[in-house]
C-alpha cells in the first residue's frame, strides 16, 4: 500500500500548521476537524500550492518536497477538487474535460474519458457552458475533470459544502463510485460528521493545525472521548450490516455481524451486500429489560463498555453490540435512575425512520470480511 508522508510546518500570522503524519493512500481518508483547524491548508500543502511550507512531503516513494526540492503542482499528478467548482468559464463542459485529458496524455498517463463521463452521468451536460450548470452539476464536472488527469491521488476539499442537502444527497453516490470503482486513493476534507460517516474508511482528526488522531471511521466516530470535537449533537456510531431481506413494506432487513437484526428504510442493495448506517446517539433509547409493546423495530442487546459524563446534563453511553460500538446519549438523571454502569447488560432501541437516507451508504471492500 502506498502512503503519503508529511513532515511539514507552515507559519501564518494567526495560525500554524504542523503535521508529521503518514496518511494511508488507499480508499477514502477523511481529514476531519472544525473550521480553522487547517484542513484546507493541509490539502494545499500536499498539492504544492503553499511554497511557504517547510519540511518534506513524500508520496509513494517520490519526494515532492524536501531540502532543496520542490515539485511544482502541475508535476505532482494529483487531482484536486476545490470547494467551488473552478471550471474554466471560457470553455464548454467538454472543453474543460478535454483540458485535463490532453495534458494527462502528454504526461504519459491514461485517463479513461468514457468511463469517467459515464460514471458521473455527464452525457447530457457535455455541450453546456459552466454558467449554465447548477451547483451540483458543476461540482460533478469538476470531479470528472480532476479524475481525467488520471491522478495518483485525489484531493477533495469539502466539495459538497456549497450545496444544499438535496444536491448533496444526489452527489454522494458519485463519490462512493469514485472510491469503489476507480481505485484512486482519496483525501477528503470535511467538517460534516454524516459525510465522513458515510464515505470514509479512515479518519484523520485535525485540531488547531495538528493531527489529533487517526483510526477507522467506526473507531473515531464512536469514540466518546472525541465527541466534543464533533459537537454533542453530531455524536453517533456506524454499524456495518449485510442485507438479508428486502420487504414489501419499504423496509430492508439486515444482519449485524453478531447475528442481531436491524431494520432500515429501503436501501437499494442486493442481499449479501455490506451497508453502513450511521445512528445518531440522541436517537438511541436504553432499557435494562427487553422492552415490549414498542413501535420501534430495532432492539439490540449489548453490554455497556463506557459511560462518559460531560459538563452538560447528558451522558454518552458506549454499548458493545457484538464487535461494534453503539453510542447512546441519555440524561444523567436517566442514567442514575437506571443504575447504568460499565459491564451492565442492556437493550438499545433505535427507531428505523430516524436513520435518514443520507446516513446510509454502501460498505466498502475493506469493510467486508
Amino acid at each position: 500500500m502506498s502512503t503519503l508522508s508529511l513532515d511539514i510546518t507552515l507559519e501564518r500570522p494567526d495560525f500554524a500548521l504542523s503535521v508529521t503524519h503518514a496518511f494511508p493512500a488507499a480508499g477514502l481518508t477523511a481529514v476531519f476537524g472544525p473550521s480553522g483547524s487547517g484542513k484546507t491548508t493541509l490539502l494545499r500543502v500536499i498539492a504544492g500550492f503553499e511554497p511557504g511550507a517547510r519540511g518534506t512531503v513524500r508520496f509513494d516513494g517520490a519526494l515532492w518536497q524536501g531540502p532543496g526540492r520542490f515539485v511544482p503542482p502541475h508535476r505532482r499528478g494529483v487531482g484536486y477538487v476545490f470547494q467551488e467548482p473552478r471550471l474554466f468559464p471560457h470553455l464548454s463542459v467538454s472543453g474543460n474535460l478535454a483540458y485535463a485529458e490532453r495534458r494527462a496524455r502528454r504526461a504519459g498517463r491514461r485517463p479513461d474519458r468514457a468511463r469517467v463521463e459515464d460514471g458521473l452521468d455527464l452525457g447530457p451536460l457535455r455541450d453546456r457552458r459552466p454558467a449554465q450548470l447548477s451547483g451540483g452539476e458543476a461540482q460533478r464536472v469538476a470531479m470528472a475533470r480532476a479524475l481525467l488527469t488520471d491522478p495518483k491521488l485525489m484531493l477533495m476539499d469539502e466539495p459538497l459544502s456549497a450545496l444544499d442537502a438535496a444536491r448533496k444527497d444526489a452527489i454522494l453516490p458519485y463519490i462512493e463510485a469514485i472510491r469503489d470503482r476507480l481505485g484512486v486513493p482519496i483525501l477528503f476534507v470535511s467538517h460534516s460528521v454524516p459525510e465522513v460517516a458515510r464515505l470514509a474508511d479512515t479518519v484523520v482528526l485535525l485540531k488547531a493545525g495538528q493531527v489529533a488522531g487517526q483510526g477507522s471511521a467506526e473507531e473515531v466516530l464512536s469514540d466518546p472521548a472525541l465527541a466534543p470535537s464533533f459537537g454533542v449533537r453530531e455524536v453517533g456510531s456506524i454499524l456495518t450490516a449485510r442485507v438479508t431481506v428486502q420487504h414489501d413494506d419499504g423496509l430492508t432487513e439486515m444482519a449485524l455481524p453478531d447475528g442481531q437484526t436491524l431494520f432500515l428504510p429501503r436501501v437499494a442493495a442486493a442481499p449479501g451486500q455490506p451497508i453502513r448506517a450511521r445512528i445518531a446517539a440522541h436517537d438511541v433509547i436504553l432499557s435494562r429489560d427487553r422492552p415490549e409493546g414498542l413501535s420501534a423495530l430495532n432492539v439490540l442487546r449489548g453490554t455497556i463498555a463506557e459511560l462518559r459524563r460531560g459538563p452538560g446534563p447528558g451522558v454518552i453511553v458506549r454499548l458493545r453490540v457484538g464487535d461494534a460500538d453503539l453510542l447512546a446519549r441519555v440524561t444523567r438523571r436517566s442514567a442514575d435512575a437506571l443504575g447504568l454502569r460499565e459491564g451492565l447488560a442492556c437493550h438499545a432501541v433505535a427507531k428505523t425512520v430516524s436513520v435518514a437516507a443520507a446516513d446510509i451508504g454502501l460498505g466498502t471492500a475493506s469493510l467486508s470480511p
Binding site: 498539492a47 504544492g48 500550492f49 511544482p72 503542482p73 502541475h74 508535476r75 499528478g77 494529483v78 487531482g79 484536486y80 476545490f82 467551488e84 473552478r86 471550471l87 474554466f88 468559464p89 471560457h90 483540458y99 485535463a100 495534458r103 494527462a104 502528454r106 504526461a107 454558467a131 475533470r145 480532476a146 488527469t149
Partner: protein, 225 residues
C-alpha cells in the same frame, strides 16, 4: 473640402501600431508581476507606471530629450549601434510613445489579471498545466477584455499625442511630423482647410475604431469569474 495631405496620417498610424505592439509585449509581464507580487516594491513600480498620467507631456518630453540626446549615455549608445541619433527620429518617437502610453496598457491588464485571481490558475496547475501553458490557455482568454481595452486605449492615446512628440521629435515631414503636429502647423499658418480635413479624418477614424471595439465587446462577451 480640400483633399488632405495624408503623409502625417500614415506616420501616425505606423507610430501607434508599433508602439501598441511593443507595449503589449512589455506591458504583459509588468502587469502580471504587479497583479501577483507581494513585494514591497509594488507601490513604487505602480507609481512609476502611472507617472505619465499626471506628468505634463512637456516635462516627460524634456527629460526624454535630455536622456535620448547623443550627448547622454543612452543616446550615445544608440547612435554607436545604429549610426543615427534617437532624438528627432521615428525610433525616438517610438521610445517616447511607449513610455507615455505605458499606463494605458499596464493598468487595464493588471486589473484583468487581478480579477481573474489565483483560483483558475491553481485549477489549471492541478490539471497539469505549467506556468506558460496556464498563462496562454487560461489567463489570456479570461483577460481578453483587458487586452482589448489596453490595445484601444494605447493606440488612441498614441494617436492623440502632441507635447511629447513636439519635444522629442520636432516637426520633420515623413519622419516625426505626426497628425497632431501637422494640424497644429496648419492652424499656425492659418491653413484652416487642411486643418479641417485632417481633424475630420482623425475624428472619423477614432469614432470608427471605438464603435468597432464596443460592438465586438458586445457580441463576444467574456465572463470572468
Amino acid at each position: 473640402m480640400e483633399w488632405p495631405e495624408l503623409g502625417p496620417l500614415w506616420l501616425t498610424v505606423r507610430l501607434a501600431a508599433v508602439t501598441t505592439g511593443i507595449l503589449l509585449v512589455l506591458g504583459t509581464p509588468l502587469a502580471w508581476w504587479l497583479a501577483h507580487t507581494r513585494s514591497r516594491l509594488k507601490p513604487v513600480a505602480e507609481a512609476i507606471t502611472a507617472l505619465p498620467l499626471v506628468l505634463p507631456p512637456t516635462v516627460l518630453g524634456f527629460y526624454l530629450l535630455v536622456f535620448l540626446s547623443p550627448e547622454a549615455p543612452l543616446g550615445a549608445a544608440w547612435r554607436d549601434v545604429t549610426g543615427a541619433a534617437l532624438t528627432f527620429s521615428f525610433a525616438g518617437l517610438v521610445v517616447a510613445s511607449v513610455l507615455y502610453s505605458l499606463p494605458f496598457t499596464v493598468q487595464p491588464l493588471q486589473a484583468s489579471f487581478e480579477t481573474i485571481g489565483r483560483r483558475p490558475l491553481e485549477a489549471a496547475a492541478a490539471l497539469g498545466a505549467g506556468p506558460l501553458d496556464r498563462f496562454l490557455t487560461v489567463a489570456s482568454p479570461l483577460a481578453l477584455r483587458g487586452y482589448l481595452t489596453a490595445l484601444v486605449l494605447s493606440f488612441a492615446h498614441t494617436v492623440g499625442e502632441f507635447g511629447v512628440v513636439l519635444m522629442v521629435g520636432g516637426n520633420i515631414p515623413g519622419r516625426t511630423k505626426v497628425i497632431s503636429i501637422a494640424i497644429y502647423e496648419h492652424v499656425e499658418t492659418l491653413d484652416y482647410a487642411q486643418a479641417h480635413a485632417l481633424s475630420a479624418v482623425l475624428l472619423a477614424f477614432s469614432f470608427a475604431v471605438l464603435v468597432g471595439v464596443y460592438a465586438v465587446n458586445r457580441r463576444f462577451p467574456v465572463h470572468v469569474g
